[in-house]
């Protein structure tokens, strides 16, 4: 546990730490749905944000850690005036931000859609190394004007 696991402000709606395994994604989606429902978002928005977070978690498992592991993913959902700020922290080696770049959808092939979904749903996405140099921080922001 470290400071990233602890709610630090009134704007924190959810802090959820879990091992980076596929079997944990269903429970994570359930927690995200419950949180966003409590915050009053409509079902369609909730399902879209659930997809973006789920795809981000998959990217961490498959590309940052490279496989399923007991190492952690920490998900934080914050809200401010209805805007959503989502942060996903991992403890994997530094990743190339290109791992969530868009691909040409005219190229019909399996794979590579997760990054597209994230960009389609969220307004801003960024990836940076954790300040301590251990892991990555993925940030996604969705505005509701």
């Amino acid at each position: 546990m470290n400071h990233f696991d602890t709610p630090t402000s009134d704007h924190d709606a959810l802090v959820h730490r879990f091992p980076a395994r596929a079997k944990n994604l269903k429970d994570t989606r359930t927690k995200v749905r419950a949180t966003l429902t409590q915050l009053g978002y409509c079902p369609d928005t909730i399902e879209q944000v659930v997809i973006a977070i789920d795809e981000a978690c998959q990217n961490i498992i498959r590309h940052a850690y490279g496989q399923e592991t007991e190492e952690a993913i920490v998900l934080r959902i914050q809200y401010q005036q209805h805007d959503l700020h989502i942060t996903l922290r991992d403890y994997a080696p530094p990743v190339d931000a290109d791992c969530i770049k868009l691909r040409d959808l005219r190229d019909i092939r399996p794979g590579g859609l997760g990054g597209h979904f994230m960009h389609h749903i969220m307004d801003e996405i960024s990836v940076e190394c954790a300040p301590e140099g251990n892991g990555n921080i993925l940030q996604m922001h969705k505005r509701f004007a």
Partner: protein
């Protein structure tokens, strides 16, 4: 996720229900590729799917491409918003043949 295969005179029906995600999409992929191998028409019934992620879509695309190569008709059946949402985001709703019901799909020409 649960799945089943029913063989009918006009095609094989592969039905999925529940959530298709990173944990269980490998099983969905395996089943779809198996059926495409020996069927002439495959109806993939996704009506009862409540969630599908990019790995589930990837399984559908791979089976669709395998079917296309071997002249197997590959048809999706879904009115599930969870499925249609991701197909539209991936712009695959115009690539796949999609029917609202199995009955419609079975009466259409493929």
């Amino acid at each position: 996720m649960e799945h089943s295969v029913h063989v009918q005179p006009n095609g094989h029906i592969v039905s999925f229900s529940g959530e298709i995600d990173l944990e269980n999409s490998p099983a969905a992929r395996t089943r779809l590729l198996e059926v495409v191998e020996y069927a002439t028409t495959v109806f993939v019934d996704l009506t009862a799917v409540t969630y599908m992620d990019s790995s589930g879509i990837a399984s559908l695309v791979e089976a669709y491409q395998r079917a296309k190569k071997t002249n197997v008709a590959f048809v999706l059946i879904s009115t599930s918003p969870a499925v249609l949402r991701v197909l539209q985001m991936a712009r695959l709703d115009k690539v796949f043949t999609i029917h609202e019901t199995l009955e419609h799909a079975q009466h259409a020409k493929h």
